[in-house]
Symmetry: D2
Subunit: 368 residues, 4 copies
């Protein structure tokens, strides 16, 4: 299919046929087209697919949406309308991948691997939701395919695009903290997962949906490989809504090669909001990242002092999602390696696998 971005003659045509302000308006659009627009396909029109697509539209200029695909046709339609996508499909099989330069993949975790494989094979740039499949070996394979085809393959570990975590990383790198000794991260959701996320066969369970964020963050912040993982988990609150092989209370100990220790906790019971906190202890400085209120207002009464708390990750990490898609487009334009690439995602999956193995065996698991 023809790339409309190269249709530079259309500018004249429009001027001849239209009048008044419409003519001027057309001029603008065409002017925009003198730069190459990136044609994006949105695969998966759920919460994250919608977020990514909206952010691309509002905060990144040079994209256009070729299509939205979702088996839930209504969701696809809603999103297509919102972002002015040209077409919508109920199945990926109906799509001609030649229509797009790039794809946003936000589908159940189990489908990340089979869906991303043909995309990167055909040279489509992909922003894939985390994790990059449910097996480290699959992620390594996707990495190799993408390297061969020249696809940018970015994985949506959004915390790395969060300004506070980026400042934290900078503090580590500047060296004023000294050697990193201990690092900790927790992610407690206010509610149990719903839909496919509640089905461990599709999501991989809490280690693959939640802990992967913390693993990815901690290895990035320390720059250290993990050599051993010990984990344990229990299902205490949501016995009825969660799969029996899932957990709402997971605790993971990481040992880094340097001797530093790490700790990750994940839960699904924080009535007050999305309690996501990280702390890094260095020899000379410690850093804590936590957004502990949403609105900057406090009420003082006979009951004491009260303030709110960010309820959900969308509120806490709003800016990171914008930065993430900006980074994706920037990498496509400049041919750069994304901050959160497939290699990195594969290594995170190795930790996930080890954590699950440790929970099941009750023993620490070494990583080669």
């Amino acid at each position: 299919m023809l790339n409309p971005n190269s249709e530079k003659t259309s500018e004249i045509l429009l001027k001849l046929n239209l009048f008044g302000c419409v003519e001027i308006y057309m001029w603008m659009i065409i002017a925009g087209n003198t730069m190459e627009r990136i044609r994006v396909g949105v695969i998966g029109a759920g919460r994250m697919g919608t977020t990514h697509a909206k952010n691309l539209l509002a905060h990144v200029g040079d994209v256009e949406f070729s299509f939205v695909v979702d088996t839930d046709r209504e969701a696809a339609e809603r999103l297509a309308k919102t972002v002015n996508a040209r077409q919508l499909f109920g199945s990926l099989e109906d799509v001609d991948l030649g229509m797009i330069d790039a794809a946003i993949v936000s589908v159940p975790n189990i489908y990340h691997y089979p869906i991303v494989t043909p995309l990167v094979s055909q040279g489509v740039h992909v922003l894939c939701e985390k994790p990059l499949g449910l097996r480290a070996s699959d992620a390594y394979e996707l990495m190799r395919i993408a390297e061969k085809s020249g696809s940018i393959l970015q994985v949506a570990y959004n915390r790395r695009y969060d300004p506070a975590y980026q400042r934290c990383k900078r503090l580590v790198e500047e060296g004023n903290m000294g050697k990193i000794l201990h690092i900790r991260s927790q992610t407690i959701d206010p509610e149990p997962p719903k839909g496919w996320e509640a089905d461990t066969r599709l999501s991989g369970g809490i280690v693959f949906t939640t802990c992967c964020h913390d693993f990815n963050l901690l290895t990035w912040l320390t720059g250290e490989p993990v050599i051993e993982v010990y984990a344990c988990g229990s299902l205490m609150v949501h016995r009825e809504s969660l799969s029996p092989d899932d957990y709402d209370n997971v605790l993971v100990v990481l040992r880094f090669k340097s001797g530093a220790t790490g700790f990750v906790f994940a839960g699904r019971f924080c009535t007050y909001g999305h309690d996501v906190r990280t702390e890094v202890h260095g020899e000379r400085m410690s850093v804590r990242v936590e957004q502990d209120r949403m609105l900057p207002i406090e009420a003082y009464s006979g009951d004491g002092v009260r303030h709110d708390y960010p309820y959900w990750y969308m509120e806490r990490f709003r800016e990171s999602y914008i930065n993430e898609v900006k980074h994706f487009i920037e990498c496509i334009k400049t041919g750069s390696r994304p901050l959160t690439d497939a290699l990195d995602a594969a290594e995170t999956l190795k930790i996930c696998e080890a954590a699950v193995a440790s929970i099941l065996s009750g023993k620490p698991v070494g990583l080669s």
Copy 2:
């Protein structure tokens, strides 16, 4: 001039003359046009004009920019390009007001009155930067003109659109605070004003550029009329960059009809950032509004614990500016009275006038 929004036949024309995906794109635009788009003129392409125009574009769907006007042609051009404005002018005299439904007026304070007058006279809806001129009598006149012509005249007292202040107002209204006894607000800028804002003949000085925000906020929050104003001011830091009749340290006492007292402080010397804080003391509850950090990260070292602070009002009030233009468009669409209307702005100006009179006379000044 013809309103292009009603040109519904253009859809077919476009389809005949264009091909492929461009055609589909055009279809979308025209589909968008089946709803009435509001044609907006941007008068003043400085910091606030740019902010308002960008927010309209990114966060409010149904607008298009008819023109940008600024005597600084480069600024006008830059903004016109950013928001896809159809035309740009170096002078308002060149503009046909029939081109627009609405205008954003962000020019030096002294020009608010002469520029808004013809706009509202001709029925153009106006979002005017605060204050609404430099004389309460002018503001009252604009109010009457707008009422007659049916123009929506909204004044950009953005704090009222800030989620934290809105929650504060709700707390007052819900009655759990009890009777309001004392209210306080301060606004200390990290830097002295530049450009026209540094010229009291154009800006009116700190009372009209800064304190007006706090006056407007406090009367809204209390819902009480001010009956007496006492103020004093000094120029202690920026003697060289500020007009000799301006201040960098202003303190205002407000007495409300109910017996409640108010206090406003304005300064221009906060090296750490834009220190804007408000507190409301009621019989049974006190509320404080202050955003005391920008990024949710803290560093702990031998020097103690350290975090950042929001440096400038753009960062602190980002969301309020978005809500403000949304409200403006909503009022236009529904014909509602804006939250920050001309009457309200006129009353704020009365307090400004009294504050200046008090500074000059050294005595409290009663308000009728």
Copy 3:
């Protein structure tokens, strides 16, 4: 009367007459007596008198209590027992001032002047509760008497002995803050005064009981004389329990000689606790002093995040009271001028007088 401290031979006597561990115990006491003990009389056995006396006993070694006087004989008895005072009196007239080296005076404000006068006239060192009487002229007179007799006359402006305020003062003095531009202090009590404090004839009302603290603090922190005072007040909540000429909402503007401005607010309605806060704005640094919680614990629930607040000044300023009496004893021992001396207290009273005059006249009042 003989000073028992000099009875160094008693040691031997005791050893001869007593046996076993009692003997040893006696030895200790007598050993203590080889240093001169300061004989203290406690005049006024109410809340503050009790606090001062207990702190002397627990935290300052070399004192003994010669007597406690209070017209409330039960209160006197209770305190005498607690601090092992040798005698108790129902009236000061029964007391031989030769019994004491020093006195703690904590009686209704109106009696400060008549009670302190004979004490300092006879060379007794005095720690007098604030304010030092209800008239500046009386305070100046006491200052002169004390200078002549060589009495240490310390006034219990305890905030100056608070570690946080002392650090604040140090920050000002070190010069890193730059020139002080604006300073602010508020004191809102959780409850209206009771007993004699509720009677303006005895206490002088809120300006003399509460604002005097803030005035004293602000002039100390800035090191600047006040040249003008504007104040206003209202009685909004406690119309039934307070004198009709008292206020529960007082607001005072101070103008310093340097051009800096000051602001003081006092109230009596903070249901959550003793809201005492101070902030100092310098050219290059701002400092805030506020203890915003009592226990270091926070609860997070569906209602948001909640913590407590220090309820009363005894909790907030516990340490300052200890330091205050230590300072008093230290000044006596070394003959030093107290940090909060009579001159300073007299100047604070001048501001109190001006504030009351301003409230009554509705006009700013100049200070010579």
Copy 4:
């Protein structure tokens, strides 16, 4: 030996032999003795022994110090003088235990068991520093001996006497938190241990000196038995000053019978202060305990906002130490079981032993 408290005739004797105010003074002392004073021996005059003795003297009325023992004769002398102890010894062998009703034992951990054994065997009440020896079996034995002899045996797990932790415990017990799901505690010291604490043969190392606090706290707060322990440790910073079998980075995972998980971290590298924090996550509420500043003052400058942090446990836990000795005396007077008794201390030691076994084996260790 005769209890001097019963020597009521001494009052008369004193009156006969002494004169003037000394006589009156004696009368007070003797009056105090009409209530039974508890005779306390202080065994160990180091930091904690000194703290406990001083707190007893300043905050608990009815005690007297029979002796101080320390192999460091200077330390013993210093403390004896401070608290007016009657005698001092360089060795416990010189002491007649009949001299005392109660003892404060603050000696190197390894000596807790051999020193406490004869004390409780002879019915002396003991406040012993934590841990209660270095072996759970020893602690159980001490428990049995104390039960038999009727001694009060309290172990100085001071956090349980901290008002914030006590409120935390109350929140758990009141049931509003719901079932406890996860609990966490960390203790990072600003400096490595010195003296005997740096010698693992005497102290047992970081698990016995530091983690025991957190273990004791978490089992108390949850009221749940620990069924499995996994721990790992490394020595990263203080390789030169610490024993090679000690750690400065220890991480412990606790599994409770209920399925709840616990986590303990201990370190020795927090340059900013004593970072001790605890959080408890329940189904409906989470609670965090942390004192995050010492003085209530913040400085705002171009460098951001800065405040201090409590540097050492003495500052953070000052009040707990006072409450602890008060509780000890109260238990002696009323014959009550101490909040932190030997049984409890023995169970904490079982967790310590399991943690060390886990560190050494690299595997989780079950607790029966």
